[in-house]
């Protein structure tokens, strides 16, 4: 896990929220790093602080939340020490993000073409016609058929899977070196999920990106990850390369997670019992 030159390293991250019940420490001392062209999966149950960790990286915490400790280094630069303007330059261009709910993350009043155009406008000097050409390229890159026509469509005219492809195209518009994907396939059905995962893996190697992939699905982890971080209750309970974590898990929690998956693969006891009789 300890790379010489990680693209992103999170060191001792702590995040807390002010709530009606008082101050809640949500993420404690979370550390990990992602190497160039590597995929790191964060896996953990619902509420374990995966999304909050991602939000903290890009400075997107809700108004009542704050980073209370630790450092986040992107290519060696401390994101916490940056001004809002400097952060805006990193967001989208250095680090892209794909969210869980594609339909909610795309503005319903604009066409997909306009949304892509804006992403390009934010970080490039391209003129209008170049941006149009590039938008079509991007839709083609995420394998959306008939891109010229689709540019004129609104988000609600897309299926969930297609909308997630659009979201990925927008996130990739400015060629970020790191893509954060927060459960990008949870809202999709299984076959579409497999296509999106395949697409992300393909894009990662084609564009030479690194990937921070959030999921609660160990099957997905097995398919995507180079390294794995297991989180529970806002803490890292286990971290390491995929093979190490899957084959020789150190913590009981990881073992129980892996057991739960393994049990699904073997025939159920009731079924076996009938065979015997």
């Amino acid at each position: 896990m300890t790379e010489q030159n990680p693209i992103l390293s999170v060191e001792g991250l702590c995040v807390g929220f002010r709530t009606a019940a008082g101050f809640a420490d949500t993420v404690h001392d979370v550390s990990f790093s992602i190497g160039h062209r590597k995929t790191l999966c964060i896996v953990g149950e619902s509420g374990s602080g995966k999304s909050v960790t991602c939000q903290a990286i890009l400075g997107l915490l809700a108004g009542n939340g704050a980073q209370t400790g630790g450092r986040i280094l992107f290519e060696g630069h401390d994101l916490g020490a940056m001004s809002e303007t400097e952060l805006e330059a990193i967001r989208g261009r250095g680090i892209g993000m794909v969210f869980q709910d594609p339909l909610g993350s795309l503005n319903p009043v604009h066409t997909v073409g306009r949304l892509l155009d804006e992403a390009l406008l934010l970080h490039t000097q391209l003129n209008r016609s170049d941006r149009h050409v590039r938008s079509i390229e991007l839709l083609r890159l995420v394998r959306i058929p008939d891109p010229e026509q689709r540019l004129k469509a609104y988000v609600h005219q897309f299926s969930g899977g297609m909308a997630q492809r659009v979201m990925i195209a927008i996130a990739l518009a400015c060629r970020p070196q790191l893509l954060i994907a927060d459960e990008p396939t949870t809202a999709l059905d299984v076959t579409i999920q497999a296509q999106i995962l395949e697409l992300l893996n393909h894009l990662k190697s084609e564009l030479g990106m690194s990937l921070l992939f959030i999921t609660h699905d160990l099957g997905v982890v097995a398919e995507m990850a180079d390294d794995v971080v297991v989180m529970r209750h806002g803490r890292v309970v286990e971290a390491g390369p995929l093979t190490q974590v899957f084959n020789t898990p150190a913590s009981d929690y990881t073992k129980s997670l892996l057991d739960a998956v393994a049990r699904l693969d073997t025939p159920s006891p009731a079924y076996r019992w009938r065979d015997v009789s």
Binding site: L58, L60, G63, E84, T85, E88, A89, I90, R91, G92, R93, G96, M97, F99, D101, G104, S105, L106, N107, P108, V109, H110, E118, A119, L122, H123, M167, I170, A171, C174
Partner: protein, 297 residues
């Protein structure tokens, strides 16, 4: 196919298209839209249409009857107590009332929307301050504020328009703050931030288009109220004053002659009534159209 079948089919189709047209544009709304188009046309073309200068007096022809009460053709809607042509005065009064109400509503909407955005963006004390001002204005009768301002600063047309502009800002501020706060919590606002868009970009290009329909509806609800405020103040002699004229000023001046020459007061009064009602009808219709839960029904 038998000829009567095609005839019936065609007839059915025509009936259906009439039904959908009626659903989209109810007759009342069409009437209101036509009337407002007419009013705006009148306001724009007042000096072209008017047969007389609205200030020109002709003391020998005071309170002359309109044509429909056996008056003569020179003054089709009669004259007022100073022998001024009521038709010409109505045209100019409409222009003044519409221009002032439009300018006032626009100012109020812009001011309120801007303050609503500021409150939602900065939160904290800024938000509390703005919302407290809004509460203060909402809890005082606006007529009182207007009277105090006019008493203190005198009655210039500019001040009068500014007062119209202060009216109703608090409604826009509250509305905007609420919808911006909820829009800020929407995924697309976060997604745009994650893409590196600065807040003003997100507000201007993403949130404003999303809340525009709400603001337009509020605009049509405020507009008639501003017209009524203008007419009330002018009626009391505190708004538009002679020699300028507005619908409220005409109504106020004509009320002394209501028993002898009713047209001097009733004609501007009906115009006020029809205008405010038309705008309200259009506003209700717009609200229904923009409301996604009512659309496609």
């Amino acid at each position: 196919m038998k000829p009567w079948i095609t005839t019936v089919a065609r007839w059915r189709k025509k009936e259906r298209s009439l039904v959908t047209a009626e659903a989209r544009f109810p007759a009342l709304v069409v009437a209101a839209l036509v009337f407002m188009a007419f009013i705006f046309l009148v306001a724009i073309l007042a000096d072209v249409i008017a047969p007389y200068d609205y200030r020109a007096q002709s003391l020998r022809l005071r309170l002359a009857s309109p044509v429909f009460l056996e008056g003569d053709l020179r003054h089709i809607l009669g004259t007022d107590e100073l022998g001024r042509d009521v038709f010409s005065r109505l045209l100019y009064a409409t222009r003044f009332s519409i221009v002032i109400a439009l300018a006032g509503t626009l100012m109020g909407a812009t001011l309120g929307t801007l303050l609503g955005f500021i409150a939602a963006h900065y939160r904290g004390t800024v938000e509390e301050g703005i919302m407290m001002l809004a509460d203060v204005q909402a809890s005082l009768p606006f007529m009182l504020i207007a009277l105090a301002l006019i008493a203190a600063f005198g009655g210039s047309v500019l001040l009068f328009t500014a007062i119209m502009g202060i009216y109703g800002w608090e409604v826009f501020a509250r509305l905007t703050r609420g919808v911006v706060l909820s829009a800020n919590g929407q995924g697309y606002a976060t997604a745009m931030t994650a893409l590196g868009a600065p807040p003003r970009h997100i507000y201007w290009r993403h949130i404003l288009p999303n809340i525009l329909s709400v603001l337009i509806v509020q605009f049509t609800l405020n507009f008639p109220q501003v017209i009524l405020l203008e007419t009330s103040l002018s009626f009391l002699g505190l708004g538009i004053r002679p020699p300028l004229t507005s619908l409220g000023q005409m109504l106020g001046a004509g009320r002394a002659y209501i028993t002898t020459a009713w047209w001097v007061a009733i004609l501007p009064g009906s115009l006020i009534f029809l205008t405010t009602m038309s705008i309200s009808i259009i506003g209700d219709w717009l609200r229904d159209r923009f409301d996604p839960t009512l659309r496609n029904q």
